[in-house]
């Protein structure tokens, strides 16, 4: 590999996206609209936190620097996180939570599928484990988009508002940074820009069933992958990092 740093930064994109999505969903524990969905969302949260651990452990292995997954998760500063911006967006309401999840799940299903042909054995192994989880997440979130979109007037209005507001964060999924581009040229991680058409088609198919119209706004907010975050990020980190910052090196 030409540059290990490029690989590590690319891994942080997915580790941090999984971690923060898990954190956001975890905020809903005990607040779901009905207990069955509360459990469903908490299950998904745990899957994502688990996935971030796989990536952090791989990073630690490559860096060979004695850092643990906890160091990466809880002791970096804002600019050192490389997650997609969409996962920083607040849960807001059930429709936003579902729409966010649907965009991400549809993307990761395609992304992980492409990871299965990676030349890197660890990436392949992570993808094989994660794609089964994501297949279920995607089923869950797609069905809820359809139920809300094709439901009552109010539910349609709510899911439509969520889609309109979150749309500008979906473009970032498909814009490769320089470091990602280099890694994808070596077939270690997929080139995310090649997944855009498939993703758009899948989203459109679900929207059609849900009686929703694809937003026409093509402008995309970028920055997360290179460490420039939304104004929500500081609040998430202060809550997420509180324990490790207050009691350094604490153990469960």
């Amino acid at each position: 590999m030409k540059d290990q740093n490029d690989f590590i930064k690319s891994l942080f994109v997915h580790a941090d996206t999984a971690l923060l999505l898990g954190q956001r969903l975890g905020e809903l524990c005990g607040h779901g609209p009905v207990i069955e969905q509360d459990i469903a969302m908490t299950n998904i949260a745990l899957d994502y936190v688990g996935r971030s651990r796989l990536f952090f452990n791989l990073i630690s292995q490559i860096e060979n620097n004695q850092k643990t997954e906890d160091d990466y998760a809880f002791l970096r500063t804002e600019n050192e996180y490389h997650n997609l911006l969409i996962v920083e967006y607040p849960n807001t309401d059930f429709a936003y939570t579902v729409a966010k999840q649907f965009f991400i799940d549809t993307f990761y299903y395609l992304y992980l599928d492409a990871c299965l042909t990676s030349v890197n054995q660890e990436i392949k192994a992570i993808a094989e484990k994660s794609i089964k989880e994501t297949a279920y997440h995607k089923k869950w979130s797609s069905e809820w988009v359809i139920r809300l979109g094709d439901g009552t007037e109010l539910s349609h209005q709510k899911i439509n508002a969520a889609i309109q507001d979150l749309w500008m964060y979906t473009g970032e999924f498909f814009v490769s940074t320089d470091f990602e581009m280099k890694i994808s040229l070596e077939n270690i991680l997929p080139n995310c820009s090649t997944l855009k058409d498939k993703w758009t088609n899948e989203v459109q198919a679900v929207f059609q069933q849900a009686n929703l119209i694809m937003p026409s706004n093509a402008w995309a907010q970028l920055g997360g992958k290179t460490g420039n975050h939304t104004e929500y990020m500081g609040y998430i980190l202060s809550e997420m990092q509180y324990m490790q910052r207050t009691f350094p090196e604490m153990q469960w």
């Binding site: 069955e36 469903a40 279920y136 069905e143 139920r147």
Partner: protein, 98 residues
Amino acid sequence: MSSDMNKDWPLYEVFIRSKNGLDHKHVGSLHAADATMAIENARDVYTRRMEGNSIWVVESKYITASDPSAQDPFFDPAEDKIYRHPTFYELPEELTHM
């Protein structure tokens, strides 16, 4: 969970088969808008710890139950009719698990 929600979403009974070849066993109930959602909810609520490989759901209203207050006339008369149990057959030794 608001009480409206319970009124809107019917109750489903959930049956799970833990292994191929065994029968589905009743494990509990949950609320869902329809059968598809009931299956998905059951997956999340009742199979988180590898409890099974097959799920059945049925809306609770389709289950007809015996009347608990009629328990005596229903079940007591069987008590002193031991001849209903085929205990007087001699089993060959090779037969186990009977």
